[in-house]
Chain length 242, copies 2
């Protein structure tokens, strides 16, 4: 089990959209929950790291989607660590439905930071990772690096209480939910969204003003979230439709 845990979740009403299918965001939330559950079980969860004044920070993520599961189904998220570098580690997830069909695949890349300095620390020197690493490779291509976009603002918002996580930072999936709310609903629910790539650059904090930028008619469907006052990029993501 160590390093290759399987975590089961039920798709309930609040996960589903009006097509009765689990939203991409809820599916990715379950995927990240499995990452947290598995790290906890292996002794290097957020709570364990906090003891040493450190924390996990997600740097990149990609998810490839097949069929979205329906409300009432159960899913199993299998997760394993495939690489541990000095400043970055790779964790993979594969989601299967009740029939055993793989319906989503994810690759995530994480750093460990010192909570006070916000600087990355040496993962191999700080975490006993040996029992948790698997030889199995990542199930899809690793998350692509998305370069700075020369693009126009299309929306703005203030980071609200409901957007934040245990750190008073905007929850990573809330960035993506905001972007998804600007995609045409018909495309989202068409079943043709195949892949999302995300680069997390900096955390937004409660009360901060954000702007959302995109390129009109960009076939790569790339988006960038910036801190409104400074223009500093906080997150970039791209959506690949079939």
């Amino acid at each position: 089990m160590a390093g290759k845990g399987v975590y089961r979740y039920d798709i309930i009403q609040r996960d589903a959209d009006f097509t009765n299918a689990c939203t991409h965001i809820s599916l990715m939330n379950h995927i990240l929950q499995a990452a947290g559950d598995d790290a906890d079980l292996n002794g290097f969860g957020i709570g364990d790291l906090n003891v040493g004044n450190c924390s996990w920070v997600i740097s990149r993520m990609c998810t490839e989607f097949g069929r979205r599961p329906s409300q009432g189904e159960s899913i199993a998220v299998r997760t394993w660590v495939s690489e541990v570098g000095r400043f970055m580690t790779t964790r993979n997830m594969e989601v299967t439905d009740g029939a055993g069909e793989v319906i989503a695949r994810t690759v995530t890349q994480w750093a460990v930071i010192d909570i006070d300095t916000r600087r990355a620390v040496d993962i191999r020197a700080n975490i006993d990772y040996k029992g948790a690493v698997s030889d199995e490779p990542s199930p899809v291509d690793t998350p692509q690096r998305i370069p700075r976009l020369d693009c126009v603002p299309v929306a703005e918002k203030t980071v609200a209480y409901s957007d934040t996580d245990f750190n008073r930072h905007m929850n990573a999936m809330k960035y993506i939910e905001w972007v998804i709310d600007h995609l045409p609903v018909e495309e989202l629910t068409s079943g043709r969204l195949r892949r999302i790539d995300i680069n997390f650059l900096k955390e937004a904090v409660l009360g901060q003003r954000l702007t959302l930028h995109t390129l009109p008619d960009d076939p790569g469907r790339r988006y960038e979230i910036r801190e409104a006052a400074s223009g500093e990029p906080l997150c970039r993501c791209s959506f690949t439709f079939e």
Copy 2:
């Protein structure tokens, strides 16, 4: 068990705010999930009603809060129906923590509508409710009626994909989440929020523009959500602090 089910839920990371406590919204989402689970088990869930072209509509809700549970705790939601009128039924919920302490109490009032006409139908003529009703009274005062507010707009938004439920309507709890995001964070996390009363008047639909109204310095902390174009009220709620 019939009519007096108990449903258990784990408080996980996505339920908690930066104080590590379950948000009021997540707690109310679990409470409503128990209502749905219990109706399903008793044969009059949304799916059962849809067969007869009907659906449940929540009309009023109040929740009184004690201690908010922390991430990692499990809660049990006990629910029972105390009254079945011709056009309105009352469902109650009591939330206990692992030590058996009651930490929240809810009263909800529901109508059944015909999906095509959107008109209320006679509940007693359409649902076999006999096995599900209990003599136990509601655990707190029933939800108060909140009159029309003569108040000023403080925010606006468009109903987004992530706000909607299986009906393409704005999820009931998303109304309240929007209001809560306008309350001072320090008060929300102070533990002094004792009660929320909600009147659901009309459903907002995907893409609709909404305005949020309140009275400055209102000791009753009342809010009203309106359809922006028509000014028609959709939801009113009030927050009682200790």
